[in-house]
């Protein structure tokens, strides 16, 4: 036998990812936008590395076993509202990775305390039938308005989502050229409450449309973002669910990155964007590992990108000031996820409501909704809450691995700073309020297990959704369009050479629309003279021809 003292163990047992590596571009954050940018650039021949802090990629595209064991939920994105338009889905051919969306007809239901209900469907005539239960006039108006609004979305708002922002003055000039453009300008200067109460007469119709318009953070009373109303109403009837969970979209994008020679690194928190002579030279990770790259794209929020990673000493005063003034969102969300012993059955007049993708509960008219939201904005939840519920296994049975179990949630708008002791003290109490409201609508709700994610939990899972800001920053006129995140950076280029921004805080915004990532990929490709292997979708090309190019001189 040999003597143990003479034995010297090997320096390393297993070769690991190197301490330093060189790439053409490093992308910080493997959320939807970071991955979209990476996938386009990788296929364009760039050597890209995507770095993700979490152990799993996807950011808001998360599908997690929070109802452990055996049930999978989407704690963040679930309603995919732009799958009809998002260029990456077709350009990258993501269906070859098994990516599939379900877009049911029964889209958004409202259930009311008197046992009536309203159902917004993908098919316009189905929606009109439901509205007619309350008001023939509203039904007719809805049909007429939606014909215009659908054109607005198709011709203007959807294409603009995938092109760099245009200064307001130029935009107005372009819109004035067409009837559709003029119709959009007409709604733009009105608040959501004005638009909806002017058009519709029945309080229940008003409430549900107002909910759909403002649920993602538009201020109901504020003017200036009215151009989003047609989009949000149209999209609430065109939501899609990612089969197998929203994480599938992230996984499909990551497969594209890797199959085109790129790298995806998880459990890799970036702590620094390295600069030399004012130019980006790479990044550094929490464990000291580095990546050298002449191009760095950040999909994080402005505070993380500019103050934490770049450092204020490298910013000019304007940029630093605008980052510090960035406003987080006016409200966050609190969600009670539940395993149910049976599919929820709503006690209302129309059995079709049970099939709705989203069901709004707790509000009968705009006033009750507005007063709830106003409480939320001041940190307050009353003794009655309201929100929207979805039974995910209704369309995607694969999310429950336990026979007979359904997976569902009820989500409410909720303040980040909750009065009366804060979230950790009150989360059980709020869960009680949520379940109470759910049971009012579904009297025989068969709850097997629950898990409530508070706004604090949102930050704990995804720290750059600061203060529970799922879109990385408020939707208000000073933070949209060319102002998102500020005039210097809204095109995705920044004053720091080689640094680009591509997350939800960059034009056009969040909610898994893919705009920031797509626009950033185009910007980098243009700046680096890459061969763009993708072509502009027809609907975008038509918009460019009609609105973006100088009209032929008269």
């Amino acid at each position: 036998m040999s003597n143990l003292d003479e034995y010297r163990p090997p320096e390393t047992y297993i070769t690991e990812w190197p301490d330093s590596a060189t790439y053409d571009a490093a992308i910080i954050g493997a959320g939807p936008n970071g991955l979209i940018t990476a996938a386009y650039l990788a296929r364009a021949g760039l050597k890209v590395c995507v770095l993700e802090r979490r152990y799993e990629i996807g950011g808001g595209l998360a599908t997690e076993e929070i109802l452990f064991p055996g049930h999978y939920s989407n704690p963040h994105a679930i309603y995919h509202m732009m799958v009809d338009y998002m260029p990456p889905l077709k350009d990258l051919g993501l269906d070859k990775h098994g990516l599939m969306f379900i877009q049911p007809n029964a889209q958004t239901a409202g259930v009311f305390s008197d046992g009536t209900s309203l159902l917004l469907c993908r098919m316009l005539e189905d929606t009109k039938d439901s509205i007619a239960k309350f008001s023939e006039k509203d039904s007719a108006t809805f049909g007429r308005v939606m014909r215009t609004w659908r054109r607005i979305v198709e011709e203007l708002v959807a294409p603009a989502t995938y092109l760099p922002p245009v200064a307001p003055i130029d935009l107005i000039e372009a819109m004035e050229r067409t009837e559709t453009g003029q119709a959009l300008l007409d709604v733009t200067e009105q608040s959501p409450v004005e638009v909806i109460t002017d058009l519709f007469e029945h309080p229940k119709v008003q409430m549900l449309l107002l909910y759909a318009t403002c649920m993602w953070g538009l201020d109901p009373e504020e003017t200036g973002l009215g151009f989003m109303i047609p989009l949000l109403v149209d999209r609430t009837m065109n939501k899609a669910m990612c089969y197998g969970g929203s994480h599938r979209l992230a996984a499909a994008l990551a497969r594209e990155v890797v199959q085109n020679g790129g790298s995806v690194l998880d459990t890799a928190e970036v702590t620094k964007v390295r600069l030399a002579d004012g130019h980006v030279v790479g990044i550094e990770m929490e464990d000291g590992r580095t990546i050298d790259a002449g191009v760095v794209l950040s999909s994080l929020d402005p505070h993380s990108t500019f103050l934490d990673l770049v450092g204020e000493e490298h910013l000019d005063t304007n940029l630093a000031q605008s980052v510090r003034n960035w406003e987080w969102e006016k409200w966050s969300f609190c969600t009670t996820h539940a395993v149910l012993g049976s599919k929820p059955h709503y006690a209302v007049d129309d059995p079709w409501v049970d099939e709705a993708f989203m069901t709004v509960v707790g509000f009968d008219d705009p006033d009750s909704l507005l007063s709830y939201w106003s409480g939320v904005r001041s940190g307050h939840l009353g003794d009655r809450v309201g929100g929207h519920a979805t039974c995910e296994t209704l369309y995607d049975p694969t999310l429950s691995k336990v026979p007979g179990h359904e997976v569902a949630f009820l989500q409410i708008h909720a303040p980040f700073d909750l009065d009366g002791g804060g979230w950790d003290a009150r989360s059980a109490e709020v869960e009680g309020l949520i379940l109470e409201q759910w049971r009012r609508a579904v009297p025989d709700l068969d709850v097997v297990m629950t898990h409530t994610e508070t706004p604090l939990d949102i930050v704990r899972r995804l720290p750059n959704m600061r203060r529970g800001s799922i879109k990385h920053g408020d939707y208000n006129p000073l933070q949209m369009g060319t102002f998102r995140p500020n005039e210097e950076c809204s095109s995705s280029r920044t004053p720091i050479e080689g640094l680009y921004v591509c997350g939800a805080s960059t034009y056009p915004g969040g909610l898994i629309i893919g705009g920031p990532g797509y626009i950033a990929a185009n910007a980098v490709a243009d700046d680096m003279g890459l061969d763009k292997w993708w072509s502009t979708p027809d609907y975008i090309a038509r918009y460019q021809a009609a609105y973006m190019e100088e009209p032929a001189s008269a």
């Binding site: 163990p9 799993e56 070859k96 098994g98 599939m100 890797v258």
Partner: protein
């Protein structure tokens, strides 16, 4: 979508994905079909509470000696480690402790045994002294070599692990080492009850019960697997799955999740492709395999469900049905807490001296309690007894990987005990689930006996997966068994899972097996696919480039030995 590939692999767990990486790197078109939402099988993590990452199944890197790390170059796809300082703190019921081992110097670990026994400390030190320089060979000869052709006449001295153990020890092994159980061997070698218990429990939790006859070398090898670069992949086991998957993807493999396979298509006795289930997330539901279909799901589901009785005879199906699932059905606890366990007595003094270990075994006193626990798990009792003496392995990932919990918090995950598999429980498959509250409370009580600070105010959350839960969430873990069929001599080497299947071939031409029900069984070793590669190469289906090297102990069907020592 493409519907024709060279290879179709059913099951995207650790073994299926590793094979996909091997085959795609060899230049073949490969399609992997996984029924779950995510690849990786038991190589997974979950975040049931935001910011806290638990290990529902695999938790420790056992496969450090795998040729796959070099051959597949997993470092290029992000593989990183979090090494343990000390691994395996053994604590007795009277709160004395020693360190089972250490990544860099076993000498230090052996010294911690000295207060228990001068003789054992010297022996443990010298054993590790001869084992460690040969550890890679010992492990590779035991796990990373295909079983010999079952019909071959073989002397015991010709067996690969017999050769490497004998060479390493210089003939110092006990005479009965290759025929005995680990219990016998430890009884002959050691005088400290706790050292015997640590060795036996270490082997047991690594898939080899120390009471199994003829398995002492393999059981001790299982114990040693975790010593080769001991620790866990940085971020948890699922990042290891990511590295493997990204290797496969980078070489062009198609990896489809949410695609349960309904049937393996057999035509003229040959596997030709698969049919997907109706709810599969794919447009084309029939996928053809030009070269082979590889089943990376367990052998019972493969033949009972996917191939079906139409294509195999009744006597074969009976043998498939009789494969034993006993052993490895774990009742798993995950604890979220504010403070790490603070032990008492000499155990706490030792931790303060050498630092926190990656795992703790408590209590490990002697054989009697270990054997009693095995009897509880394997015999046909209505209710397992002996809770008072059950031993908890407690993994403490936050002591070596801070990414697993927010600052100021820790996770203890997994903490487990073995219980009867649902199929064999006299009380029926639901019996253990009905005892959930009671068993969890008893385990927490044991945890408090180890570390009194594990009080209700310290513990923030507790998650549990019973064997039945594990089977539901992960269909590959039949009976919640982590190692599939048990690793006893009846089901090992040329007997695993059956002699006629031991070389990964099946009665169906062009259908191969690549699951832990084949040799060398469970744990994330990348060994089943490595071993299967030899057979695919022998069968002329695969021709890898010069990055491939075979096991020096491999014997082809013609009896020719491949490679050289």
């Amino acid at each position: 979508m493409d519907s024709r590939y060279d290879f179709v692999i059913v099951g995207g767990g650790h073994n299926g994905m590793t094979l996909a990486a091997y085959l795609s790197k060899s230049g073949y078109s490969v399609c992997v079909l996984e029924s779950r939402l995510e690849i990786g099988g038991a190589q997974e993590n979950a975040e049931p509470r935001p910011g806290f990452r638990i290990d529902p199944h695999a938790s420790v890197l056992y496969g450090g000696a795998a040729p796959g790390f070099e051959q597949l170059e997993l470092h290029k796809y992000g593989f990183r480690m979090s090494y343990w300082g000390q691994y395996g703190l053994a604590v007795t019921s009277d709160n004395r402790a020693f360190v089972g081992g250490n990544r860099w110097t076993f000498a230090e670990a052996a010294e911690t045994l000295r207060p228990f026994s001068e003789k054992d400390a010297d022996l443990w030190g010298s054993m590790m002294g001869f084992i460690f320089p040969h550890l890679k060979d010992i492990l590779r000869s035991t796990f990373w070599t295909p079983p010999f052709p079952p019909e071959l006449e073989v002397e015991q001295t010709d067996l690969p692990w017999v050769k490497t153990w004998t060479e390493a020890s210089g003939g110092a092994l006990p005479g009965n080492f290759f025929d005995a159980s680990l219990v016998d061997v430890c009884d002959e070698l050691f005088e400290t009850g706790a050292l015997k218990a640590v060795t036996g429990l270490g082997a047991w939790y690594s898939g080899a019960a120390p009471t199994w006859d003829g398995m002492a070398a393999q059981a001790f090898g299982s114990f040693l697997l975790a010593s080769y670069g001991s620790g866990a992949p940085k971020g948890g086991m699922h990042t290891y799955a990511h590295a493997i998957a990204r290797c496969a993807l980078a070489h062009g493999a198609r990896v489809l999740v949410n695609c349960p396979v309904e049937e393996i298509i057999v035509r003229d006795g040959r596997a030709a492709g698969v049919i997907l289930a109706d709810d599969a997330s794919a447009a084309g539901k029939t996928i053809w395999a030009d070269k082979a279909v590889v089943s990376a799901v367990d052998v019972q589901q493969t033949f009972q469900r996917l191939v079906g009785p139409r294509h195999v005879d009744a006597s074969f199906l009976q043998k498939i049905k009789d494969i034993s699932l006993k052993g490895g059905s774990l009742y798993v606890l995950h604890v979220v807490c504010k403070e790490l366990p603070r032990y008492v007595g000499q155990a706490q003094e030792l931790v303060e001296q050498v630092g926190y270990p990656g795992s703790v075994l408590y209590p490990c006193d002697d054989w009697d309690s270990v054997v009693a626990q095995m009897r509880d798990a394997y015999s046909r009792k209505t209710t397992p007894t002996g809770r008072a003496s059950m031993t908890l392995p407690v993994l403490m990932p936050t002591t070596y990987d801070r990414s697993r919990a927010p600052d100021g918090y820790h996770v203890l995950s997994p903490i487990y005990i073995e219980v009867p598999p649902p199929e064999y429980h006299v009380g029926g498959p639901e019996a253990v689930n009905r005892q959930k509250e009671q068993i969890t409370a008893e385990m927490l009580e044991m945890l408090r006996a180890l570390a009194p600070n594990m009080t209700d105010s310290n513990i923030v959350d507790v998650y549990v997966n019973t064997p039945l839960d594990s089977e539901f969430r992960n269909a590959g873990l039949v009976g919640g068994n982590w190692y599939a069929t048990r690793h006893c001599e009846d089901q090992w080497w040329t007997q695993r899972p059956l002699p006629e299947l031991s070389r990964y071939r099946t009665p169906i031409d062009n259908l191969y097996l690549c699951n832990q029900t084949s040799f060398p069984g469970g744990l994330c070793l990348m060994a089943v696919p490595y071993n299967l590669m030899h057979i695919l190469i022998d069968d002329g289906l695969v021709e890898p480039a010069d990055w491939w090297y075979p096991s020096p102990w491999h014997i082809t069907d013609a009896g020719t030995r491949i490679g050289a020592n």
